[in-house]
Symmetry: C2
Subunit: 497 residues, 2 copies
């Protein structure tokens, strides 16, 4: 990555301007977390805290000024008051620093457009690239860079210390967020859902670096398989479409665009001082560039999960296998409402299922037309057999397994998830799984599916929506004659069909 | 409750026809759970196991035939093979038993309409009311009656024993489900979400008792404040509308109706052998009778939570207070998309918020037009002050508190939830809360809100949808001139406005 953004991905050294002794201050929290990451060996570059009024912080030497810092560091994190930020950036530029994450707020978002313009002028003249201002910056479990000024835990009045701002583990989903609060809330959500992260960028006022440049960069990043985007406005519309369209050929982009309604736009305008255009324009831009739109945070991550582990289907036909008739009906309804199809099985799949009935492998009263309803008499073995038939069938393009763990015939739902995951890996069709509830059994079954690369959801509807997202992306790739190439490169070509 | 359904709610004694020694059999699981409930003192009536081939099960005396059972029991649970069920019902009727839960399957759902008709004829002629057949029956944490044939736990291969079919605790939400699998999955979900249950009825083939009769009954039940319904078809449309309309005046009914699309209907038909009419007809029936429709399981329980604890609003105007601008935008978008309003504050609320700014109680750069965005500098105190102003304002009818716990100014999110709950109890406006993420802090904050009667959700969108459900119900009550009466009786009249 021989370019201007490299320091944000792989810094050679980090200067923290505004390091602080006061425990609550961002300049302290960030320093402490960076030190911890350094000690853990995750962060492997030197950290230089700068503060004219401190000799040492957390037992480490503090530099009085930027000039005193040894040369070689290419990234700065700035947490000083807004009014001195332009001067700080100038000084950094003069010392050869090429990149700065500006956490400080107090710029255009509160009407100080002048100060932000001054900042940009200084940065441009000294060749410093800027993330922010008014952002929470960057977090990557790969590089160990973490400018999120929120401690991991909070200490409650009653003495309990509880996890409050967890960071997701290493993974392949990137997140770009215009809102710092949405970003950190999203990281908390991601951590809890067990979704791994490549890079998180909070772009704040995006005075310099914006979503377009980051999407281009993440498009080239080997660690990133899916790009998530939370935005309230996109300023460079044409560049966005051009860039997103190119990147979408290599990896899916999922966007949540807030500020859709009149009142929502008003709220967004007062929040980020940016004017959002009409929602139809965004919708059209996303469609043209292959960007999949999520309606809310839940969908954003539901889609992230499916894109990280499953290839797109080759068509709109969903095969459903279930042990709960009602769950099958819900999944069918959602599929059809989204424009997918749940075709009646008529050909070889049907014959094979009838064969299973005849041989007493599935119940005589099982429904085999699709959904394949194994009923409450379902067993783990039946699930495996029926799923295999759907995976092999030319009549469906993707499969939803609704394995409600409650039925007596599934003695070990974790084992079932393992077996089904093993089976589905042999085929190139996308698969999602569902188990409903919050009992240990439900949670463990879903986790086991997730762990083995089959995204699992707590309701049939959410699973089917994820399949729809895959389908939409597949249709985009198809329109560019790139579907087979994508599937091949995604799966590595070791599958039956 | 001096009527025919009383034995299903408060049996005087229970005859279990088909009690079994084999641990996996429904006739064993049900007996064991009933015994446990009896020993715990939750179930307070005698249980009589019947099995011609067993002397004792679990150390208890078994009756050879129904005739041998001492008189006085008014409820039977039947788990014997379908073909002998009609004869069993006749015999029960002759012994004076008035009600039977028929778990056995093998009737109309597999094409044996003849057997189901024979069953109904026998029951009618002997005056026995029937729940089912082909159902999981009844569970109530109040009466201790539990015919769900699923053990609480499963034993995994690796030796772990995990919770698999948890039963919700005592509460005020009733659930009627046409699908047994959806019902038991829903109970698992409810237990995990901490939503208390009054009664669960699985109606299966509804050969005799259907949703209409149960809604009427639950309308009169003091323990039930909200009625949830999962159905794939409603046979008695006119009676449904008449009954639901009356009951809706007293308590909300939330329905999830599956089998909406062509393929969904086909799936439902093969599942329950019942023909679903056009979705428009159901939509119209629900609208007329004040029934709130949920789109999926998640919504069903999101709505249940809000109805159990909050009164309907008097109008469509939502006040939003947040520490995350983006979350405020999302909530605003969803509100407007659903037809609610997020009005700009102009009158006394705005003046009061400006006063807070002037006095340095909220940040100078906070947004006070609605959403009220306290920004990342928000503190617990600010939340309390701003929320009070919204609750007192004549410009909004309901309030959404989006208190993302991550901000540094909320040292103790649990304490904040407590304070806000205390505050909101003084007012008659409905309130919902949001915190996003799955960290301990997020989970504990939401649980604390829930515990104190403010329903909490993990995303802004889900919270706003819940407010919408309240609003729709309020509009129905208004159209019947019953809104103020309902609010008064719901809250008991001890509020400011």
């Amino acid at each position: 990555m021989p370019n201007e953004l490299k320091p944000f991905f792989e810094p050679s050294g980090i200067i923290l301007v505004g390091a602080s002794r006061e425990e609550d201050k961002p300049g302290h929290v960030i320093f402490k977390i960076l030190l911890e990451n350094y000690e853990k060996g995750v962060l492997r570059v030197p950290i230089y805290p700068v503060n004219p009024n401190a000799d040492s912080i957390l037992g480490h030497k503090v530099y009085k000024s930027i000039k005193d810092v040894p040369s070689g560091a290419d990234l700065a994190i700035i947490v000083v008051p807004a009014k001195i930020v332009p001067a700080v950036v100038r000084e950094l530029g003069e010392q050869g620093v090429k990149a700065a994450v500006i956490i400080s707020s107090g710029f255009s978002e509160i009407g100080r457009v002048d100060l932000e313009e001054e900042l940009v002028r200084e940065a441009r003249s000294k060749g410093v690239r800027i993330l922010g201002p008014n952002c929470v910056g960057i977090y990557s479990p790969w590089s160990g860079l973490d400018t999120i000024f929120l401690p991991y835990t909070k200490k409650l009045k009653d003495g309990r210390e509880i996890l409050s701002a967890p960071r997701p583990t290493r993974g392949h989903v990137a997140l770009i967020s215009q809102s710092g609060a949405v970003g950190t809330a999203a990281l908390d959500y991601m951590h809890g859902e067990g979704i791994g992260l490549s890079y998180f960028f909070s772009i704040g006022n995006k005075a310099d670096i914006d979503e377009v440049e980051l999407i281009r960069e993440l498009g080239e990043d080997d660690k990133t398989r899916v790009i998530l985007l939370y935005v309230e406005s996109i300023k460079r519309g044409r560049e966005f479409v051009d860039t997103a369209e190119k990147v979408s050929l290599k990896k899916p982009i999922v966007a949540m665009k807030a500020g859709r309604t009149q009142a929502g736009k008003r709220a967004a305008a007062s929040h980020t001082a940016s004017l959002a255009g009409s929602d139809e324009i965004y919708e059209a831009a996303f469609r043209r560039s292959g960007v999949i739109r999520a309606q809310d945070i839940e969908e954003l991550f539901d889609f992230a999960k499916v894109f990280a582990s499953q290839p797109p289907p080759r068509g709109p036909r969903v095969g459903i296998v279930t042990d709960g008739g009602g769950a099958g009906v819900m999944a069918t309804d959602m599929a059809e409402m989204l424009g997918l199809q749940v075709p009646e099985l008529k050909l070889e799949a049907r014959l094979k299922l009838e064969e299973l009935k005849k041989n007493g492998i599935i119940p005589e009263f099982a429904q085999i037309s699709n959904p394949v309803d194994l009923t409450g008499s379902a067993s783990s073995e039946m699930f495996v057999e029926a799923t295999r038939i759907l995976l092999e069938s030319s009549e469906v393009d993707m499969v939803a397994i609704l394995a409600l763990h409650q039925v007596p015939g599934i003695p070990d739902p974790v084992e079932l998830a393992k077996e089904l995951s093993r089976l589905t890996k042999e085929y190139s069709k996308p698969v999602v799984a569902v188990d409903t509830g919050w009992s240990e059994a439900a949670i463990l079954e879903r986790k086991e599916f997730d762990k083995n690369g089959i995204p699992a959801y707590p309701t049939p509807e959410r699973a089917v929506k994820a399949l729809w997202a895959l389908y939409k992306y597949g249709e985009f790739l198809k329109s560019k004659n790139s579907l087979e190439r994508y599937i091949e490169s995604f799966l590595g070509g070791k599958y039956k069909n």
